[in-house]
């Protein structure tokens, strides 16, 4: 079996879809400049050489224009894959994403579709508050958007191909520490590599993946927190606590059946997220389980989230704010006696 990092998996998915469908094109800052770096994480390196600058379009620093152009082109049947360099920059284009991409189909009575993807690097990496936020929950709140947040190269490739073929605006979150570069491992990032089949595959939206089977407690986590939960669960196993980890992979649509089935089995739920706690994604999952499966719960639902601060830069400060394995272990132990 060949192996790929997440960075390579994204590049391969983009390349395959661009070869398959001429309407697919890439648009963003510093993604195809000759002698440049292929986007902030090197993901699009080589694609401009192969597909030309018409289909790998470098833009001015204009996030609103990037998203607006993608929306307009998508409305006409193109399939743009837009990107921001850091998740925090998507806020510059909030109007185009929330008021335009998400609403145009609805307010036209179904006359137009917006088949576009926005790739968004998320997560904290020692860069300070404006290059570190995990903004997923903002978009989960907006009807009309789909939100994808995978954490392995295999899932990333299959879901990105599905996202490109979807007829709706899809926000595709990629965790910066999971791309697979060595530099990130040195900062606590994980070298995440998956085995890859040679043949083409797609992964449908709305299908969670149980990343680890267990009986005593269910952890629902996404992105980097899936990996941290895996580490925590190995430590808990030594103490006789068996953890099941559900990775929803897509936040909208959300596979609530898999989560509820797991909770019915374990009777306990911990949600682990890198974003700040108040009004967050974890709150939504907790409410959903409380509404639909409270009778199966043997203990209160726990959330392990970032503390409610902007993300600080200095390592001890950032490490304190962002959930780590110890906080996950503590939360589990609190409800598993």
């Amino acid at each position: 079996m060949r192996q790929l990092t997440i960075s390579e998996a994204i590049r391969e998915a983009l390349r395959e879809e661009m070869l398959r469908d001429e309407s697919v094109f890439l648009i963003g800052e510093d993604i195809g400049i000759e002698g440049g770096f292929g986007g902030p994480f090197g993901v699009t390196k080589g694609l401009a050489e192969e597909f030309g600058h018409e289909r790998v379009r470098d833009t001015p620093i204009s996030e609103s224009a990037i998203m607006g152009v993608a929306i307009g082109a998508a409305m006409m049947g193109m399939r743009p894959v837009a990107e921001v360099q850091y998740g925090d920059f998507i806020f510059c284009a909030m109007d185009e994403v929330v008021n335009q991409a998400a609403k145009l189909r609805y307010m036209s009575g179904g006359q137009v579709n917006i088949p576009m993807v926005i790739r968004i690097p998320t997560g904290a990496t020692r860069r300070g508050a404006q290059h570190a936020q995990s903004p997923e929950a903002f978009f989960v709140h907006v009807p009309g958007l789909k939100v994808v947040a995978p954490c392995t190269p295999y899932d990333v490739k299959g879901l990105l191909k599905t996202a490109i073929r979807d007829d709706n605006p899809v926000l595709f979150f990629e965790h910066k520490l999971l791309y697979g570069g060595r530099g990130y491992r040195a900062m606590g990032g994980l070298e995440v590599i998956s085995d890859f089949p040679e043949e083409e595959y797609l992964i449908p939206f709305g299908l969670a993946d149980v990343k680890r089977k267990g009986d005593d407690v269910t952890i629902v986590a996404k992105l980097l927190m899936v990996h941290k939960s895996l580490v925590a669960s190995r430590n808990l196993e030594k103490e006789g606590i068996s953890v099941e980890i559900v990775d929803p992979r897509t936040l909208v649509p959300f596979d609530k059946d898999t989560v509820i089935e797991s909770v019915k089995k374990t009777g306990r739920l911990v949600i682990v997220e890198e974003e700040t706690k108040t009004g967050g994604w974890g709150a939504e999952i907790a409410a959903l389980v409380a509404e639909e499966a409270i009778d199966y719960l043997d203990a209160p639902i726990m959330r392990v989230s970032a503390f409610d601060t902007p993300i600080p830069a200095s390592p001890p400060l950032e490490d304190y704010v962002i959930p780590d394995e110890n906080r996950i272990v503590e939360a589990v132990k609190k409800i598993v006696k």
Binding site: G72, A73, M78, S108, Q111, P115, G144
Partner: protein
């Protein structure tokens, strides 16, 4: 100068917009139309002058004041009226309302009521035309109030840098809601902004439909030839307030009177009569036809069913 049939058609469209908006205003006062309205009355020469240069497969991007654009681009008044009534037969099935009028089939995507946000989207539509070498163009309408919005700047700039087939049509009616243009920008003419983007900018009498037609003809040709956008600053005036219920008392009386004298419809009518293309009798006939068409639209809208409440849950995702 263009042929007689086109000129008469332009006159017909301007009159249709005028009568439609007047009728809609009374229907609103009567309580038949919910929500709000931004009437196009007074600005007819801009929509008609611009759209008369466009092919059916060209596109326009509209604003919170879209009824005139829709009619000028060839949208049907029956489905427009039904949309204003909130009926199931409306052009957006009642989901859009006055500010989001859409008929994709005639080249009108949903009108965008966030000021300035339509410019980047117009650039994107134009990019698809350019990438697919279709020869189509996009005309993007906005008020002078839009030019200080960040999205407007980003959109104009990217359209300029990529030489996209866009015509930027500023409907400069002097007031952004109640704020006079002099309080919002120091440039004397909006067209001066064009030099900041390296594109041509022109000022035109926006109440002279032939002047608008000629200015935008050049801009459309330029766009179709792949030479990029032009900023056309159309000086015009809305006859009423910003939206329903705005008496527009922030405008000096003498200014209003001056502009009412420059009403684009009597001006064009006099011109056509002088050119011996139109007679009073012919004008009356045209007006009669239009009034009939609009009354039929009112009947259609009144008799159409309201949408089933549950259809609110449809059309969110493709």
């Amino acid at each position: 100068m263009t042929d007689e049939a086109t000129l008469i058609e332009m006159y017909r469209k301007m009159l249709k917009i005028r009568h439609f908006e007047q009728r809609v205003y009374y229907l609103f006062l009567e309580g038949a139309i919910p929500g709000t309205l931004h009437l196009y009355t007074g600005q007819e020469a801009v929509a008609v002058g611009v759209c008369s240069n466009l092919r059916r497969d060209d596109f326009i991007l509209s604003t919170h004041r879209p009824h005139g654009h829709y009619i000028a681009k060839g949208g049907g008044v029956d489905r427009l009226m039904a949309e204003l009534f909130g009926k199931e037969t409306g052009c957006c099935k009642g989901k859009g309302g006055s500010m989001h009028i859409c008929d994709f089939g005639v080249g009108m995507p949903p009108a965008i009521a966030i000021v300035g946000a339509n410019v980047p989207i117009a650039a994107g539509i134009a990019l698809s035309f350019k990438m697919n070498v279709t020869g189509q163009v996009v005309a993007c309408f906005f008020g002078e109030g839009a030019i200080n919005q960040g999205m407007w700047h980003e959109g104009v700039n990217i359209a300029a840098v990529w030489k996209l087939p866009v015509v930027l049509v500023c409907e400069n009616n002097l007031y952004a809601a109640s704020t006079h243009v002099s309080k919002a920008t120091l440039v004397r003419n909006i067209s001066e902004r064009a030099c900041a983007y390296g594109i041509p900018g022109v000022v035109v009498d926006g109440n002279d439909v032939l002047a608008v037609f000629e200015a935008t003809k050049k801009a459309v040709q330029r766009a179709r030839q792949g030479l990029g956008p032009t900023l056309v600053d159309c000086l015009t005036y809305r006859h009423g307030g910003h939206s329903r219920g705005d008496p527009a008392t922030y405008r000096p009386k003498d200014e209003v009177e001056e502009w009412l004298k420059k009403d684009p419809i009597p001006r064009f009518k006099a011109k056509l009569i002088e050119m011996k293309i139109l007679t009073e009798k012919k004008s009356e006939e045209i007006e009669k036809d239009i009034v009939e068409e609009i009354e039929e639209a009112v009947k259609f809208a009144r008799e159409s069913p309201l949408p089933l409440a549950e259809t609110a849950l449809e059309d969110i995702y493709a």
